[in-house]
């Protein structure tokens, strides 16, 4: 297991490398000339050249990339001009909030997706199945940013059960209960689409597994139907659902951009949107890199779990 883990860990190095290449290339696509942008239209050619040299723009693109990568590896993501502080500090601070939100959503969508999928498969064509299928259909077609607004209207404005926005109450806030009450709506909103996708796939996987010969063997052994479904069928279905949960982590991390904007959650998604409107590209670059890297790591985790469950994958 440890050997496999190390091997897999080594395999993500080229992926992370590729991520930096793509981010670098996107940033290099910037239209116009940065020196002119900094100095204004009336800059002298000497000054433009000086700025270009300062920014390293007189070098070739690969050279620029490796200098940039070297800086990244030393934790130097540049300085955010709009916030006037190092990008890495801001990003890590914001990422913390995103991790809480995305983590809570992932737990919600995994638990509810699996449960709904299993129940739906077990009661196939019954009322429970129809109700689940109906909600799955609605869930995966729902614009999450709109759903967030609806939930705010119902639970924050009309019922006044939960706060409409933010991460902590401004006055006398703090503490886990306060966090939880602020977390509830955004986490649920963010989880809805992923729950639908996971439920759909779990249902299909369960139905597929329940037709297998080894399920007949389990029944022929005289096991209770409960044990057949929750031990034999569920474990086999889970193996094929786990990679999907890994992929959903990407949609949850990405969807956090909308949800954090709707609920004014002080996470990295909202930071990105603000950074784009202030054209603070270094901040955008840092945020994208950190979130993408965390997604890669999460997929590694999903892969490891799958390997632990399925002995056939051990090589």
């Amino acid at each position: 297991m440890l050997a496999y883990f190390l091997k897999r860990l080594a395999m993500i190095v080229p992926v992370l490398f590729g991520l930096t290449v793509i981010v670098f290339l996107i940033m290099a696509m910037i239209p116009g000339d940065p020196a002119t942008a900094i100095l204004g239209a009336y800059a002298t050619p000497e000054n433009v050249e000086r700025i270009n040299r300062q920014l390293g723009l007189d070098r070739s693109l690969p050279e620029q990339y490796f200098i940039w990568l070297g800086n990244l590896l030393q934790g130097d993501f540049g300085r955010s001009y709009s916030l006037n502080r190092p990008v890495i500090d801001e990003v890590l601070e914001r990422f913390n909030a995103t991790l809480i939100l995305a983590g809570a959503s992932l737990v919600l969508c995994t638990v509810f997706g699996l449960v709904a999928g299993i129940v739906s498969a077990v009661r196939q064509f019954g009322w429970t199945d129809r109700i689940v299928t109906f909600f799955v259909l609605i869930g995966i077609s729902m614009p999450s940013f709109w759903l967030g607004l609806l939930l705010i209207l119902v639970f924050a404005v009309n019922l006044r059960w939960l706060p409409p926005s933010g991460m902590y109450a401004i006055y006398g806030g703090g503490g886990p209960l306060d966090l939880l009450s602020h977390l509830a709506l955004p986490a649920i909103t963010l989880a809805v689409v992923a729950t639908g996708v996971i439920a759909r796939l779990t249902r299909a996987a369960m139905l597929e597994v329940l037709r297998q010969d080894y399920i007949r063997t389990a029944r022929a052994k005289g096991l209770s139907e409960r044990r057949v479904i929750y031990r034999h069928a569920f474990k086999a279905a889970l193996v094929s659902v786990i990679p999907v949960i890994g992929i959903q982590a990407g949609f949850v991390l990405g969807g956090a951009v909308y949800i954090e904007t709707v609920f004014q959650w002080p996470g990295i998604g909202r930071m990105l949107v603000q950074a784009i409107s202030t054209r603070d590209l270094l901040l955008v670059q840092g945020g994208v890199l950190v979130v993408a890297a965390s997604y890669v790591l999460f997929n590694l985790l999903a892969d490891m779990v799958q390997h632990m469950l399925d002995p056939r994958l051990k090589t």
């Binding site: 329940l210 022929a220 982590a249 969807g255 951009v257 784009i276």
Partner: protein, 649 residues
């Protein structure tokens, strides 16, 4: 579905004479039809917007700001600048649909081109291009789009490009897979050899064949793309005022959420309806074009076979002196409108300590007979339609699920064919045997595990203690089958049912397993119902034999009598199929023809079509299983005489 085909083949159900059209299938799916209807309405409204009697969408009227829906002159009310919401909604929907479709087209063209080239070229080009695509997919979906918009600057066109780029991988991957499989097919090679350039081969030979995949991918991604472009506009990164799409309307309306919620709810509802209708149609298209992927098309087998007996034989007054007494068992499969009578009235008795062989070709109903005994035939589509299964004076077909569960693996134990698929791949073999023990004996896990190891030793698995910790895929076929047998022996079953236990194994292992089963059966004193298609195996192990054909027993008797003097022509043919060592000149002819489909059994003898001795009388009326001698019976109006059957050898 024309009348011409109906008259040509009156017997065939209409459904089979012509495949319904693509469109008919799509509409038959109620959800897809609903989605299609909704989509058509929205699309028509969006197309016709310029000609509809709507107020201009951009005329502000501060006097009428934030009117509620159903206000006079403004069906959906007005926004913060007094603009008519209904009009803005229609114009916004036009923009959103146009942008979503354009993004889909861009992604489809670029992604398909990458996929086609990568799949067609293969090798290093493929590797290089697909690694690049994998890199794009390593980003969380919307995040990459944000980075692109960040660089290009906010705006509807830039949002369109960004969303197109992040969807390219879906097309590239799907199309590459198909192109790869086509790249070396004969017609592509032929085109290349005829001197066409690579580009022409790609465009004229490969592209037309991947078009359906492109269409499916488009139909499943276009909803997403509309949603995501709306999302970017919602964040203020897409459409910029005064231009408005559904997303930017929602984004602007959000600021008024507390005072005038309708301004944001209305455009959101439109996005939702649009995306849902597209998803429904997309699912429908996928189900029609690729029925295998249809979500939930597979039905879940119930815990026990449904029993709906049309005729139930009377309970015998004095119970037979047999371990198991099966009377006129009937099992059917109902698929669509057809009824497949897999078991059409089977009766036999399994005596204590004997081994009864149930022999026949695949499809003769022997396995279904065995599965029916304890309700292991999957329902749907299977169901037991008649008969009794008597065990200790009880009819098992009347037993509750709980009672069946006690008997399964308890008094009755099964050994199945192909132990690779019948053992659970994710549990160790020791665990699976332990579980079988604990299902019927109140032992702790540790004690049961010890007993499991002892069982594995008994079926002669070397290093049983160590092997118990192995997973099925780590064992050889023979070892796996020994595990299945150990599992069947776990609770000292009275009746062992072995369904082709040696078929998946090679010959030497087969012999070992047979010897093992024979020895264990003698040792434990259980009765054995042995199902096989191989008379060679029967002669090794069975005391008596029952030959099945098309769901019925056609001959039964002691093994050596049947082997030496088969009375049914089918039995003789089946015996002829067994190769004998040292007799190479022996004809190994398979029986010509096919068994009849059990949903359309002919009248009279089901074997008549393939029987060399068949005559007119064979195709009339019901032919009974006639007794020839004590213990001997045959379902044939002119059974073979001993000299006839010997002449055959």
């Amino acid at each position: 579905m024309s009348t011409a085909t109906d008259t040509a083949k009156p017997v065939e159900p209409i459904r089979k004479s012509g495949r319904p059209s693509f469109f008919a299938l799509l509409v038959a799916n109620r959800l897809a039809a609903f989605g299609l209807g909704l989509l058509v309405v929205i699309a028509l409204a969006a197309l016709l917007t310029p000609w509809l009697p709507l107020q201009p969408p951009d005329i502000t009227n501060p006097a009428n700001r934030l009117l509620r829906p159903l206000a006079e002159g403004h069906f959906l009310g007005t926004d913060q600048l007094g603009r008519d919401l209904l009009s803005r909604l229609m114009w916004g929907a036009r923009v959103s649909i146009a942008v979503g479709l354009s993004a889909t087209l861009v992604a489809a063209v670029v992604g398909s081109a990458i996929g086609l080239v990568a799949g067609y070229a293969g090798g290093r080009t493929d590797n290089f291009m697909m690694r690049g695509i994998d890199m794009l997919m390593a980003f969380p979906y919307i995040l990459l789009a944000l980075a692109i918009v960040a660089v290009l600057g906010p705006g509807l066109m830039n949002a369109l490009y960004a969303i197109a780029v992040v969807n390219i991988p879906f097309f590239a991957r799907n199309i590459r897979g198909v192109a790869l499989s086509l790249a070396h097919r004969e017609f592509v090679d032929a085109a290349r050899l005829s001197g066409k350039g690579h580009l022409r081969v790609l465009l004229t030979e490969v592209l037309p064949n991947v078009l359906p995949v492109i269409v499916i991918t488009m139909s499943t991604t276009v909803g997403w793309m509309i949603l995501e472009t709306a999302g970017l506009s919602f964040l203020g990164l897409g459409a910029q005022p005064p231009q408005a799409d559904l997303g930017s309307m929602l984004g602007e309306g959000r600021k008024l959420l507390f005072t005038a919620p309708h301004v944001s709810i209305v455009p959101g509802l439109m996005i939702f309806a649009l995306v849902m209708s597209i998803n429904l149609v997309g699912d429908g298209i996928r189900d029609v074009l690729d029925p295998r992927l249809k979500s939930g098309a597979l039905s879940r087998p119930a815990a026990a076979t449904a029993v709906k007996r049309e005729d139930v034989p009377a309970m015998p007054e004095t119970p037979a002196k047999a371990a198991l007494d099966v009377r006129d068992l009937r099992t059917e499969f109902r698929v669509g409108g057809d009824v497949y009578k897999a078991v059409g009235g089977v009766s036999f008795q399994l005596k204590e300590r004997e081994c009864l062989g149930l022999v026949g070709e695949s499809g003769s109903g022997k396995s279904v007979t065995a599965m029916s005994l304890l309700g292991l035939v999957p329902t749907p589509p299977g169901r037991i339609a008649g008969g009794r299964v008597l065990y200790q004076g009880r009819d098992l077909l009347e037993a509750s699920e709980a009672d069946l569960r006690k008997l399964r693996g308890g008094a009755f134990a099964y050994v199945f064919q192909d132990p690779l698929s019948t053992l659970h791949p994710l549990f160790t073999v020791g665990d699976q045997v332990t579980e079988a023990i604990r299902a019927h004996q109140p032992l702790s896990y540790r004690d049961a595990w010890k007993r499991a190891v002892a069982l594995l030793k008994m079926v002669r698995i070397p290093n049983a203690a160590e092997r118990a910790g192995s997973y099925p895929h780590e064992l050889s076929g023979g070892m796996r089958q020994r595990v299945s047998i150990a599992m069947a022996l776990a609770n000292d079953a009275e009746i062992l049912i072995a369904d082709e236990p040696t078929t998946a194994l090679d010959v030497t292992v087969q012999a070992q397993i047979l010897k093992l089963m024979d020895a264990l059966q003698d040792d434990k004193g259980s009765a054995l119902l042995f199902i096989t298609h191989d008379f060679g195996v029967v002669s090794e192990i069975c005391d008596r034999v029952a030959v099945m054909y098309a769901g019925r027993i056609v001959e039964t008797g002691p093994t050596d009598e049947v082997l030496n003097a088969p009375a049914h022509p089918y039995t003789r043919k089946l015996i002829d199929c067994v190769p004998v060592l040292g007799e190479p000149e022996r004809r190994l002819d398979a029986i010509s023809g096919l068994p009849p489909a059990v949903n359309r059994l002919p009248e009279g003898c089901a074997f008549a079509e393939r029987c060399p001795y068949a005559e007119a009388a064979c195709r009339e009326g019901e032919i009974a299983l006639e007794s020839l001698a004590p213990e001997r019976a045959v379902r044939c109006i002119k059974p073979l005489k001993p000299e006839q059957s010997e002449a055959a050898q």
